[in-house]
């Protein structure tokens, strides 16, 4: 996307200005979204994001600029703005005098789409969306269905003063279905949204009709559901998107973004028992075609599989370059950002609890009275105190070891480090699901996941 000489000149100029490290991240992304409502294409937008982010380190102080002017002059101007802001413009540091040779890493194509964008026209996509909508029309109570397709082709170039030169083309496709069920004045929703680092083969992996039906069944279940009970009780958390609980309550606490500042309750705890011994927690950026996978992170470093917690013992944090500088922990290829407008920070990729040895039925059978949180919505955490919350999107009461009536409006509330110690059993049925995770460096695609998990007690917010 940029000529190596332009990049080398720019980075050498950063070193001359006294920076210890310089990095450029260039992005050209095509994003397309089509939305179907009422059996017809309601909205469609196509876009081209194009810009560069320039990051310099002076010790552990960071200066960052971004611009859409990707000419030699535009980039030089952005750099000069930064040096001026730092008070370093016009300095001449000898480190900028030598040459700069890049080690070009060629992508292996681990996540290359099988059916690329150009193979089908837009009408083909519209037809798949209409199938998803038809799939959701399973009952007269389904009043409204919204289906959309997101396609994203991101080309990145990351180069730095240490000679890194990494290029990658990242393709992601996601189908989203929202179903709204209504009876009288009661309105409830259901949701399904599979996404992968793939092209149009997504429709083969997740037939649109089934995705629509899944969303609709959830909306109907919620329509029948009674308000959730309130109080402290055992909770069986579902697999796949159920993993969002530990994404929030545990994963965020292991990012150096909060660990380096001692703003995580799990800082300085390597080697200690921080979780129940049945918990092994992994963040893997290499899973083929996973929604959160990339070959290199947004700092140009190959992604890897990082075991965070092994049988309850804390083994590693998720470490980006700044986190590494601040803590000395080895880099884990975890530097990520939403786009060129944000500096990278340590972020999760595909994070999940590894499978255990129990059957799902055993977990449920062991509960006298509790909640089965089959599917979850999003959530939030404060790493400094570990307090988290998230919404149960589909839930059922467990009574005498049996699944009984559906309940809605439940919210799980607690402190992550307590909850992870209360994991009593882990089933075998590991599955991941895609989501968008928001933090300091913006919204990034991640997978969350786990098998079914039994937590001995969680505060359930329902109606008292």
């Amino acid at each position: 996307m940029l000529h190596p000489d332009v990049v080398a000149d720019l980075l050498k100029k950063a070193l001359k200005g006294g920076a210890d490290f310089g990095e450029i991240y260039v992005e050209r992304s095509k994003r397309r979204r089509m939305t179907v409502r009422f059996g017809r294409l309601d909205e469609a937008i196509s876009g081209l994001d194009y810009g560069a982010g320039l990051r310099l380190f002076f010790g552990t102080e960071v200066v960052y600029a971004y611009t859409n002017q990707l000419t030699r002059e535009g980039l030089q101007e952005a750099l000069e703005t930064l040096l001026r802001a730092k008070g370093a413009l016009g300095q001449v540091d000898e480190r900028g005098a030598g040459g700069l040779d890049f080690r070009k890493a060629s992508p292996k194509g681990l996540h290359t789409p099988r059916v690329p964008y150009g193979e089908k026209d837009k009408r083909f996509r519209l037809e798949r969306l209409l199938e998803a909508e038809a799939g959701a029309r399973i009952a007269p109570e389904i009043q409204q269905v919204e289906t959309s397709l997101q396609e994203w082709e991101q080309e990145v170039l990351i180069a730095n003063t240490e000679g890194t030169w990494a290029e990658e083309r990242r393709v992601r496709t996601r189908l989203l279905v929202l179903a709204v069920a209504q009876e009288g004045t009661e309105v409830q929703t259901g949701y399904a949204a599979p996404g992968k680092s793939v092209g149009l083969e997504l429709f083969d992996l997740y037939p649109p009709q089934e995705v629509g039906a899944k969303a609709a069944r959830q909306a109907l279940t919620n329509l029948r559901a009674k308000p959730a009970p309130a109080g402290t009780m055992p909770v069986v958390v579902g697999n796949a998107f159920g993993g969002v609980i530990f994404h929030e309550a545990l994963g965020h606490l292991l990012e150096t973004t909060s660990v380096a500042k001692k703003a995580s309750v799990l800082a300085d705890r390597l080697g200690e028992v921080v979780a129940s011994p049945v918990v092994t927690y992994v963040d893997d950026g290499t899973l083929p075609h996973a929604w959160g996978s990339t070959e290199v992170d947004d700092e140009g470093r190959p992604t890897e599989r990082t075991v965070l917690i092994e049988k309850g013992v804390l083994k590693s944090y998720m470490v980006d370059r700044l986190g590494h500088l601040l803590t000395g922990y080895p880099l884990t290829g975890s530097g990520r950002r939403q786009d060129y407008t944000l500096a990278p920070t340590s972020r999760m990729r595909n994070t999940f609890i590894a499978p255990g040895d129990k059957e799902v039925e055993e977990l449920i059978a062991s509960v006298e009275f509790g909640l089965y949180a089959k599917d979850l919505g999003g959530g939030q955490v404060k790493p400094g105190s570990g307090e988290y919350n998230f919404a149960v999107q589909e839930g059922y009461i467990i009574r005498h070891g049996r699944l009984e009536e559906p309940v809605r409006g439940a919210m799980l509330v607690g402190k992550g480090p307590d909850t992870i110690k209360k994991v009593a059993a882990v089933a075998k049925d590991w599955e991941n699901a895609p989501g968008m995770c928001g933090s300091l460096s913006g919204m990034v695609p991640v997978e969350v996941g786990q098998p079914h998990v039994l937590v001995s007690e969680i505060v359930v917010g329902g109606r008292a």
Binding site: R37, L48, V63, R123, Q143, G378, Q380, G384, G462
Partner: protein
């Protein structure tokens, strides 16, 4: 190409291709200064711009945008927008336009020297440590954003405005014995000089420290006093249901309820893009409709949805001028400065004073308006705060909550989440709390 040149290029090419077109372009400048441990750990200074295009082909609309301003990229955007329009299944028109003038809403508000801004970020971070209970400071910072937005169409729309915001805030962890609380806050203003780092730091410390040594709250139904920022979060959720676009998409429970009482008599909800010091004021909306004040709910009675030209036509109502669009998005409807009017009949008695809701995006359903939210708060008795309470969730339905509002305070406070949401403190007769 500059954005101005790209705009002229697109309008000229659209005419050549026999299309009607509307372009919206946005140039942004951002400065952010983040201090930690007495130094500036991150300085960010950036510019960004892009052009959003909406075309009309045979009474159908399609969208595209680009940040790359080469002729190839502009031609790509035109052809994608045209393809998108040709597939559209719904009628839509670009409204006829008018000259809207050029407006400056920020003036010299942000024009202090960089050094003064750096000092205020450092000052705020330092002042966050002025309490022995401060365990760590995640950041103290200053940010400003300046935006120039212009709108033009082949149907005669032509206008521009410049606006901006300055903000200052921070985040810290405070501890008292084993009790830990993380707090943060952000103050926004139209002028750099309206911000006060030491006062903001003091407010953040006080707001966080008062939550320390919290006790569990027994499960039950209590009267709730919602602090302005907690109420502002609920207004954000409610605002989705006030959008006529949501209503037309079957995602609002307020459809067909105009003229009905949907809230208690103390509730008057207004959206006013013309507020002089409004944090999200603007002279016209994203399709060139001039701004004016709209009473959405008056003394509990639902008066109007927020509309753009398309939704107003579809529901046969008056356009309120709330078309919203960034260059990267499709035409939507959004509030500007949406606020609950102060009344001044609130007296603290007994109940839970809710200081903050967490996880709004997950715990509140903008369609059903059911919510179940983790909250932080203070137990109030005989009009006084007795102690902090934690580890509980509040559940209910927003429409029921609006009807249960018994009293509204007298002082507005604002929170910016895309739009600006303002509220005084609000007393709610009874809410359901799930705790210990």
């Amino acid at each position: 190409m500059t954005l101005e040149e790209a705009k002229r290029y697109l309008l000229r090419r659209a005419k050549e291709l026999g299309l009607e077109a509307e372009v919206l372009f946005q140039e942004e400048r951002e400065l952010s200064l983040r201090a930690r441990q007495g130094t500036l750990e991150e300085i960010k200074e950036a510019r960004q711009g892009g052009i959003g295009l909406r075309v009309q082909v045979q009474r159908r609309l399609g969208y595209a945008y680009t940040e790359e301003l080469s002729p190839e990229a502009l031609e790509w955007a035109l052809s994608e927008a045209r393809d998108n329009a040709l597939l559209a299944g719904k009628e839509g028109l670009i409204p006829p336009g008018q000259a809207l003038g050029s407006h400056d809403l920020i003036g010299e508000g942000l024009s202090a020297p960089l050094e003064a801004k750096k000092q205020s970020a450092l000052e705020l971070e330092r002042a966050l440590w002025e309490d022995s209970r401060t365990r760590s400071v995640l950041m103290g910072g200053y940010m400003e954003k300046e935006v120039r937005l212009a709108l033009a169409s082949t149907l005669g729309t032509e206008g521009a405005f410049r606006t901006g915001l300055a903000g200052m805030g921070g985040s810290l962890v405070m501890a008292d014995g084993p009790s830990l609380k993380q707090g943060w806050d952000f103050r926004l203003a139209k002028e750099f000089h309206a911000l006060d780092p030491s006062r903001t730091a003091l407010e953040i410390r006080e707001k966080t420290a008062r939550l320390l040594n919290a006790k569990p709250l027994p499960t039950g139904r209590y009267r709730a006093y919602l602090e302005p920022k907690a109420m502002a979060g609920l207004l954000l959720v409610l605002s989705r249901s006030l959008s006529a676009k949501s209503a037309l998409e079957g995602k609002s429970r307020l459809l067909n309820r105009l003229g009905e009482r949907i809230a208690s008599e103390w509730v008057t909800l207004v959206d006013d893009p013309t507020l002089e010091k409004g944090l999200v004021s603007r002279p016209f909306d994203a399709e060139g409709t001039p701004a004016r004040r709209t009473a959405v709910v008056e003394k509990g009675v639902f008066k109007t949805f927020l509309h753009n030209s398309e939704t107003a036509k579809a529901l046969g109502q008056e356009n309120t001028g709330h078309a919203f669009r960034t260059y990267r998005g499709v035409m939507d409807v959004a509030p500007t400065n949406l606020y609950l009017e102060p009344v001044g009949n609130l007296r603290l008695e007994k109940g839970v004073r809710i200081t903050e809701f967490m996880g709004l995006h997950a715990g509140a359903n903008p369609v059903s308006l059911d919510f179940s939210l983790q909250a932080l708060g203070l137990w109030v008795e005989e009009g006084e705060v007795r102690y902090a309470v934690e580890n509980f969730a509040v559940a209910g339905n927003l429409l029921e909550l609006l009807k249960a509002i018994e009293a509204v305070g007298d002082e507005l406070d604002w929170e910016v989440m895309g739009s600006a949401f303002g509220s005084p403190m609000v007393a709610v007769a009874e809410l359901s709390f799930a705790g210990a």
